[in-house]
């Protein structure tokens, strides 16, 4: 009841504010059940609805208030409460997708699933009953919601519940030490808080709640203010360290990650990983003054002694299809707050941690972690290792870039997450999230290795050479599970490592380079099934040589922006686009060919055969892994505003759902978007033939070295026009879900479409992927605007 009252009050306020601003009267709005019943109650002019007035439809909204609903959302990777999640409301309410902007005053959403849930907004029909404004429905409309949903089955029928411990884990991500070295501040993503740790007593002394999923923390020079980025809130919190209270919140871009100020503390830089930008915050006014274009997925940043700020990017820059990639190191001019240069790091991705050498003979050098994913060679080469390697980059003040590997041939240093350089500039510490270790780097030895290597080899051979780490890694220290952030004390005597999946801080003595203490950030907790799954997901133990983990290709459970050559059929052939793992439980089947009906099948023996080359997971491990993967959160959609769709987005929705072409022709079912992409996840969970085959897809059945293949290459863009004239080989593919599709470029099964637009402007030549030839440019722009809201 409370929910109903709360919803009603909220909507009244929203309607009062928003309704008059509705700017496009040509678009239908939701009218409300009462209006429908006026004609369709069996006595009026309209036909009575054949579907009985079932109480489940009426109570559908109230069902979201239950504990079961909360467990289902957790299991589905839905970050919002169920009563405000567009995924849940898509089936449990009416008109939620378009939002309150398109609700008439007579519309009452508390009535649950109403007539317009199936028939669409009814104002046009009400004004012109014979006008055909309503969606014609059949059984397929019912099955958009009434279908098997594992998330619901697991909770409602199998009794799945998260463990109590799952609500108490903290998951420390990154650290900052106070200038006096007395306190350590820890950003904890799972508890949505920042902890203060007294380094003398090794005790947590304070905890401050911040926004959703805090990620990075920076401290002012006087130690009085903390700056914390909140990934899912798109904000930066400012904390007064004396009172340990949050004193301000600043709106920034999507998915903010790294945060740091310039030395003069005039500007603060926040890296918006979600929209590839950098927010420049005026520290005096605590307001964003400009937003700069960064590399793809800006992640972490450091001040250099030469007046710049260097920024890493986790995803490579767009490259020509099936061409080698490069990632960007962005340099900001601290004085002007603008970008001064960009450096390309060839063949590298997942540039994450970064630290500057501020003293010593190598002052000005910048160290950063990296991976080298050789995605164009067949992934079965994993058998020999080398396909995914982990290393360290060095950027010199001249702009020159060096890369060295931290892997040995049979001992990978998987998932290097962060790096810190000692105040004296002689040592660095790199964390390995996949092997639960840190490496102590001798900077002098590293530089000597680089200088001993001939110039040509330094550029081409050294970046791929396994087994050189013995030259510059002084020690490998085991730490807690999944180490991420690392930081030195100001005096350089100690270093601290955040063990994300251990809820602890490892203290390293920098004199003996040994672990001297472990600070627990939470009470001793049992390891729940979900946490065990998280550890498996982040661990490289299962892979050959320990070179990579699941998260190496799925950082944050998402994508690394690369397409992978998956089979041993030749270099660069049959590439497959990497797909996100966020919120995918109810989107089976899996794999682009849709051959895996469950995640257990996807991650079980198949993984061992194709990727890991080690023994598969035990059944218990597999269940834990799958359960964890289901809970990987899908970030809130930044384009779906609470007040509802914009007119352009609403028009795009109509294009998406249209049954008629612009010339009035009725579209066949296979020609409509909504046939394959419907329901809250916008997937029919079936395979379909979309005729996007290109010459390098193995099912194109082109001889590998024959004339036909080269004809196809020469014929046009990726050979797609070749198939237009010679006939497209039919091959069905899984209809992917479209949630948060805006942040999972590239697109199509082989990643050929760099942007959403290209799906239709370049690769729908034979109209197999919906009929779009007649769309106007405005309609296409509207369609894209709508797709971004899903």
């Amino acid at each position: 009841m409370k929910l109903v009252i709360r919803w009603t009050l909220f909507l009244l306020v929203v309607m009062a504010v928003v309704r008059p601003a509705q700017s496009d009267d040509t678009l239908a709005y939701f009218f409300g059940e009462a209006h429908c019943r006026a004609c369709h109650d069996g006595t009026g002019a309209g036909r009575r609805c054949a579907i009985p007035d079932v109480p489940e439809h009426r109570d559908a909204l109230a069902a979201l208030q239950t504990d079961d609903a909360r467990e289902i959302t957790a299991l589905s990777g839905v970050p919002e409460p169920p009563e405000s999640s567009s995924i849940c409301l898509g089936c449990h309410a009416t008109g939620a997708e378009v939002g309150p902007r398109w609700w008439a005053n007579s519309f009452h959403p508390a009535a649950g699933v109403q007539c317009e849930a199936c028939h669409g907004a009814g104002s046009g029909h009400a004004s012109q009953p014979k006008g055909g404004h309503l969606r014609r429905i059949d059984r397929s409309v019912c099955t958009t919601c009434h279908r098997a949903l594992p998330s619901h089955d697991w909770v409602l029928h199998e009794g799945f519940r998260r463990a109590a411990a799952d609500r108490r884990y903290r998951t420390p991500e990154n650290l900052a030490v106070s200038p006096d070295g007395n306190k350590l501040y820890v950003a904890c993503s799972q508890s949505d808080s920042v902890l203060a740790v007294n380094l003398a007593t090794r005790q947590v002394v304070a905890e401050v709640a911040v926004g959703r999923r805090p990620q990075d923390v920076a401290i002012s020079a006087d130690g009085k203010r903390l700056f914390v980025t909140n990934r899912h809130s798109d904000t930066m919190s400012v904390i007064d360290t004396d009172r340990m209270q949050m004193i301000a919140t600043v709106a920034v871009g999507d998915d903010p990650h790294g945060v740091l100020s310039d030395r003069a503390e005039k500007n603060l830089f926040v890296l918006n990983t979600g929209d590839d930008s950098i927010s420049v915050i005026d520290l005096a006014a605590l307001a964003e003054v400009r937003r700069l274009p960064a590399g793809r997925g800006p992640w972490s940043l450091t001040r250099t002694p030469v007046g710049t700020i260097a920024v890493t990017s986790v995803r490579p820059q767009p490259a020509r299809f099936q061409q080698p990639h490069a990632s960007e190191l962005t340099l900001l001019d601290a004085a002007t707050g603008r970008i001064s240069a960009r450096r390309a790091v060839p063949d590298a991705n997942m540039l994450k941690g970064i630290a500057s050498v501020d003293a010593g003979p190598h002052r000005g050098a910048v160290l950063f972690t990296l991976m080298r994913t050789k995605n164009l060679v067949p992934a079965t080469r994993l058998l020999q290792g080398w396909v995914i390697t982990n290393g360290l980059g060095v950027m010199w003040p001249s702009g020159q870039i060096d890369q060295v590997l931290l892997d040995d041939p049979v001992d990978g240093f998987a998932d290097p997450n962060d790096v810190a350089v000692s105040p004296a500039g002689r040592h660095a510490i790199v964390t390995s999230g996949g092997s639960d270790r840190v490496a102590i780097i001798d900077v002098d030895a590293l530089v000597a290795l680089l200088e001993d290597t001939p110039a040509g080899a330094r550029e081409t051979i050294l970046p791929n050479r396994l087994g050189v780490r013995g030259r510059f890694v002084r020690k490998l220290l085991p730490v807690g599970a999944n180490p991420r952030g690392v930081v030195f004390a100001p005096d350089g005597r100690e270093a601290y490592v955040a063990n994300a999946l251990d809820d602890s801080i490892t203290v390293i003595d920098c004199g003996t380079w040994s672990v001297t203490d472990t600070i627990a950030l939470a009470d001793e907790l049992m390891i729940s099934e979900l946490r065990r799954g998280a550890r498996l997901f982040h661990s490289a133990d299962i892979t050959f040589g320990g070179q990579f983990s699941c998260q190496s290709c799925h950082p944050d459970g998402h994508i690394n922006g690369l397409t992978i050559d998956i089979e041993a059929d030749g270099v660069g052939l049959r590439p497959v686009d990497n797909r996100t793992l966020r919120g995918i439980l109810d989107t089976a089947p899996f794999k682009w060919e849709g051959t895996n009906p469950s995640l257990a099948r996807q991650c079980g023996p198949r993984l061992a055969v194709f990727f890991t080359r080690r023994e598969p997971y035990t059944p218990e491990e597999l269940q834990a892994l799958v359960r964890y993967e289901c809970t990987i959160e899908r970030p809130p959609n930044r384009y779906h505003k609470r007040e509802g769709l914009t007119p352009a987005q609403y028009r795009g929705k109509l294009v998406f759902e249209r049954a008629f072409a612009n010339d009035g022709r009725r579209l066949q079912r296979r020609e409509r978007c909504i046939t394959c992409h419907h329901g809250p996840y916008k997937t029919a969970q079936q395979r379909a033939i979309v005729r996007t085959t290109m010459w390098f897809d193995s099912w194109a059945n082109l001889p590998l070295a024959g004339e036909s293949m080269f004809d196809a290459k020469a014929y046009g863009d990726l050979g797609i026009f070749y198939f237009a004239d010679t006939g497209v080989p039919a091959h069905d593919l899984d209809a992917p879900h479209l949630n948060n599709i805006y942040d999972s470029a590239p697109y199509l099964h082989n990643g050929a479409a760099a942007t959403l637009e290209e799906i239709w402007t370049r690769y729908n030549y034979v109209e197999g992927h919906g009929y779009t030839r007649d769309l106007t440019r405005r309609q296409l722009n509207d369609l894209i605007a709508y797709l971004r809201t899903l």
């Binding site: 496009d24 962005t330 960009r342």
Partner: protein, 575 residues
């Protein structure tokens, strides 16, 4: 449109003689007293001096830097040296970057530039990000003007005015192009977005207001002033300068307009320098108008150009006094200019000129200054003389309810027949004629526009001329032809049509037989040969295509492999 028709040669000759007389006449006292300086000292930059290409199309001054848009990409000055931006990108591209518009987002320092045929680019600290009509929401790849300010980039393209909101990552479209509507070619955007609105200059249309309020509405573009044949416009502060075919107009409030007759014709652009001063660029001269009492023109003419090339308006000069100054301007047609304090930069098809009031402002000393005024455009010598055929199918961008109808309007076989004839006539030791067309996948698919292919033919394939079919009311093709400076034979008609009249680069077929709807008996030779070779009867389209190609080939045979001379020959034939 009749005002824009080319004048008979005698009239032009008289006008040019008058210009020479006026140029060397005593300076009126009123002009001599005008409080503005004369740019007396000049230096010239070409490809020899570091420009990527002689041909300059856009200029922008940002503090101590000068950004130059050339036919081979973007160039910037650093310490008085020219540095090409991202040459690697240019080498990979399939079409040269013909930079047609530049603007700088002052808050971030990013440079946005538009191209003729390759869309929109952001140049940010050595990185180029491309936005085109296939990979983004940009309406067209031919960009005439850009404004980048406040996190919003507005681009006037051949597909309409696109608005890109950077933070929201959304593309919107004003004045969408449609196959069943007379299109508006927006060539200039005036000023920054002001409370969500911008005023645009529509080529041969007028000034139009585009606002966010109308942006989502079906029309999008509201014509507010359409009574003038607009060439260009610019705005500085609240003062708007509006260049029409016969005058320069000024308004401080957008309502009351002061008119100033132009001292010359063939104008191209206007640049607002201050509330009282504007610069007008014409093909062979540029002038600075100073509004005062009385107003006065200072006209800079190319000291190397023949006096006859000046298209002086004698009546105008008698109305507003004009002082003619000879200056070392680049060879070829002037295209753009920008004034920066006591300096002026003038871009032309043959290079970039830098004029200063004070000789100390020049970048180079007298001994290092280039005196060579010949064009140095780098370019490969073609192994064949290429003739382009542009299938200008109606754009498939249609208004809802109207089915797009791509039409096959040129008969490729007929053009090939004309080319074979020319090859048979040609000296066997010389270059052969070769046919290049745009029947690639995308043209058939429909997400591109005909002008993109025109740009590809003109700039990518280096054709000497193009045979195509232009709808009678289609100004887009004419607008790009004006900028491509490539002769185009319009096979649609042999009489004067709108596209043929508004630009000196589009020509009709002179042969009246081409307008017939069927092949007549006196076309027997063509019809018989066509039938023999292609085993089918020619239709009227084939005859028109044949005649158009024949017309172009004959001009090439007379004028040689030079677009400018071919154009002159065709213009002479028209007269």
């Amino acid at each position: 449109m009749s005002q824009l028709r080319r004048k008979p040669r005698v009239t032009v000759l008289l006008a040019r003689i008058a210009a020479v007389i006026i140029a060397f006449a005593p300076i009126p006292a009123a002009v001599a007293e005008q409080p503005h300086a004369i740019f007396r000292h000049w230096e010239l930059f070409t490809a020899r001096d570091g420009l990527a290409h002689d041909s300059v199309r856009a200029l922008c001054v940002d503090r101590d830097r000068v950004w130059v848009g050339t036919d081979s990409g973007l160039i910037v000055s650093r310490s008085r040296k020219w540095v090409a931006c991202k040459e690697a990108e240019l080498a990979r591209g399939d079409l040269p970057l013909m930079v047609s518009a530049i603007d700088i987002e002052r808050n971030t320092g990013d440079v946005w530039f538009g191209t003729l045929g390759r869309g929109l680019y952001r140049y940010s600290a050595s990185r180029l990000d491309r936005f085109d009509q296939l990979s983004s929401g940009l309406a067209g790849n031919v960009v005439y003007d850009i404004i980048a300010a406040g996190g919003v980039v507005t681009a006037a393209t051949n597909g309409g005015v696109s608005v890109f909101e950077l933070r929201a990552h959304t593309w919107s479209l004003c004045g969408e192009r449609a196959c069943n509507r007379v299109d508006q070619v927006v060539v200039d955007l005036l000023g920054q977005w002001d409370r969500g609105a911008v005023t645009a200059a529509v080529w041969l249309g007028g000034l139009s207001d585009i606002g966010f309020a109308q942006r989502d509405a079906p029309g999008g573009l509201v014509i507010s002033q359409s009574d003038r044949l607009t060439i260009a416009a610019d705005r500085l502060g609240k003062v708007t300068w509006w260049l029409t075919a016969d005058r320069l107009r000024r308004s401080a409030d957008g309502a009351a307009w002061e008119d100033y007759p132009l001292p010359f014709g063939s104008t191209r652009a206007v640049v607002a320098c201050s509330p009282e001063r504007a610069l007008v660029v014409a093909d062979h001269a540029f002038g600075v108008l100073v509004v005062g009492s009385p107003p006065a023109w200072v006209v800079y003419v190319n000291d190397a150009a023949p006096d006859a090339s000046l298209d002086v308006h004698r009546d105008s000069v008698s109305t507003i006094p004009a002082r003619f100054v000879r200056a070392a301007l680049p060879p070829g047609r002037l295209r753009c200019a920008v004034i920066d304090g006591n300096e002026v930069w003038v871009g032309a098809s043959g290079g970039l000129a830098h004029g200063c009031v004070d000789p100390d402002g020049l970048w180079r000393s007298a001994d290092t200054r280039s005196t060579d005024r010949t064009a140095t455009a780098p370019g490969k010598q073609p192994d064949a003389i290429r003739i382009g055929v542009l299938f200008a199918a109606n754009p498939t961008i249609a208004l809802p309810g109207v089915r797009p109808s791509p039409r096959r309007t040129i008969d490729l076989a007929a053009v090939q027949l004309a080319i074979d004839d020319a090859n048979a006539r040609a000296d066997p030791r010389g270059s052969a004629y070769e046919l290049v067309h745009n029947l690639h996948g995308y043209a058939r698919y429909g997400w591109t526009l005909p002008e993109d292919d025109l740009a590809t033919l003109a700039f990518g394939s280096d054709v000497l001329g193009i045979v195509t079919w232009i709808a009678p009311d289609d100004l887009h093709m004419a607008a790009l032809a004006q900028r491509a400076e490539t002769p185009i034979i319009n096979a649609a008609t042999n009489g004067p049509a709108l596209p043929d009249c508004v630009t000196p680069w589009v020509f009709a077929i002179p042969d009246h037989r081409a307008t017939r709807t069927a092949v007549a008996p006196d076309d027997g030779d063509f019809a018989a040969r066509y039938r023999t070779r292609f085993r089918r009867n020619p239709e009227a389209t084939a005859l028109r295509s044949f005649r158009a190609a024949q017309h172009l080939l004959q001009a090439i045979e007379h004028a040689g492999a030079d677009r400018e001379r071919i154009g002159e020959h065709l213009r002479a034939a028209d007269d």
